[in-house]
Amino acid sequence: MKISHYITDRAAKTTVLICAASSILILVAIIIFIVLQGLPTFQKVSVFNFIFGMEWRPTNGQFGILPMIVGSIAVTFGALLLAIPLGIACAILLADVAPHRVRQILRPAVELLVGIPSVVYGLVGLVLLVPAVRQLGGNGFSILTASLVLMAMVLPTIISISDDALRAVPRAYKEGALALGATRWQTISRVLLPSARSGIVASIVLGMGRAVGETMAMIMVIGNSIAFPKSPLDPARTLTGNIAVEINYASGTHENALFATGIILLLFIIILNSITITVLKKGIHKYAEHLS
């Protein structure tokens, strides 16, 4: 081997290694920073009281984030409950039902929706949905409103990834089912959807990740109340909203408690991601060759 080749190979390898290592280092640094900033909270409040405490009164030294945990979960699941059936239906339409020309218009449109900044979704929610939900009761800033806004934000993710998954199903499956005298709907529900299952699950979990992390639009429509929400029409506060709303004026234990909120959020995301990975692996493991 020529010496010059050896040097370029080594140089390339080292560069790639440094880049990869630095991105991992940044991630580790963020985690360490959040944990270090958050841990002092637990000198003042026990972990149990922090997670299961009903009262968040930083001025009284009460740091219970259960209302926010419930707020985040309620909003996320509310959004997914609406977005999953809608999103999968849209993906089926795009992947299999709509004529070619309609797809060519719809697909870029859906991808465009992913790129719209969240503050715009929040604004639309604030101006259109808050007054509409007010008609149902409450002041309009509520879990329901936030779920609706979040649904609109999660939908494009679910649609485009599920669409990809459905289109990746071998054509032979579809033809095989039709050739057996299955109807179009039977072919979709019994062959296409099960075959694309792992991709569809991935789209849902990615959507869930986006929902849990969404901050700006939520602050604008959920009301940010620290009271424990009792109905979908009650205002609430999300974990992310808690940090964003208060970090500007927080200090001391209050500031630590906000970082501790961040730790909880991080755990949420880790749990969600591990669920995805297990589900995906299971799907791939069961029918190893179906991707070939």
Partner: protein
Amino acid sequence: MKINSLPPQPVKQPEAPVCETKLRTENINLFYGKFQALRGVNMEITPCSITAIIGPSGCGKSSLLRLFNRLNDLIPNARVEGKIELDGVNIYERTIDVVELRKRVGMVFQKPNPFPMSIYDNIVFGPKQHGNNNHAELDKIVEKVLRQAALWDEVKDKLQQSALNLSGGQQQRLCIARVLSVEPEVILMDEPCSALDPIATLKIEELMRSLAENYTIVIVTHNMQQAARVSDMAAFMMMAPDRAGELVEYDETSHIFTNPKDKRTEDYITGRFG
């Protein structure tokens, strides 16, 4: 001593009920958009026989086959002129239920395409879609068609395993069994052995011969020996200069291979082109 007490064996006794024509095409033209893929195809296929469609790549063999179960309907811009009759009824009539048609005309594809499910679920897929949910009956169907497809002994202990773990030849026999499960009258086979090794191919061919006692089989094949070995009738197709596929010669297989009437057929089967 000469044995002349036995009457001479007839060469071929028509065993099947003497019905005239199972499938008949009348002046079929097929277009994909502006491109004409088939021109003026006229064919009559007798019941309980094997008809092989042979010819060079791109001559429209598969397109013709896919007309018989209207699978070409899936292709946008595909347009058919002419008539295809199944038992005397034009299957391109507006009143025809395509789902019903595809139950009667099953298809085996070039690449084995078992669904990503268990062997059992693959077989019961068709019957279930047609409303049969009786477990005992489904179990019977599974055993019956797997026996017919000469696969039962190989898979009877692993019916709940994924069909994708079977070998290519087994997968193809599974696909044939799957077609049999909906009790079709006609089975279309689109180069069913092209992805298989010679031993698996031989098994499929034996299977086809035994199935031909009860089913009308139409097979597209690239393999001339296969056509000669397995089929009763053979159709030779070729591309016209404008690339539209035409039926050059359609006759008994023995005639096509030993005494073709058309020069082009002769050139093709003797390997001068294609």
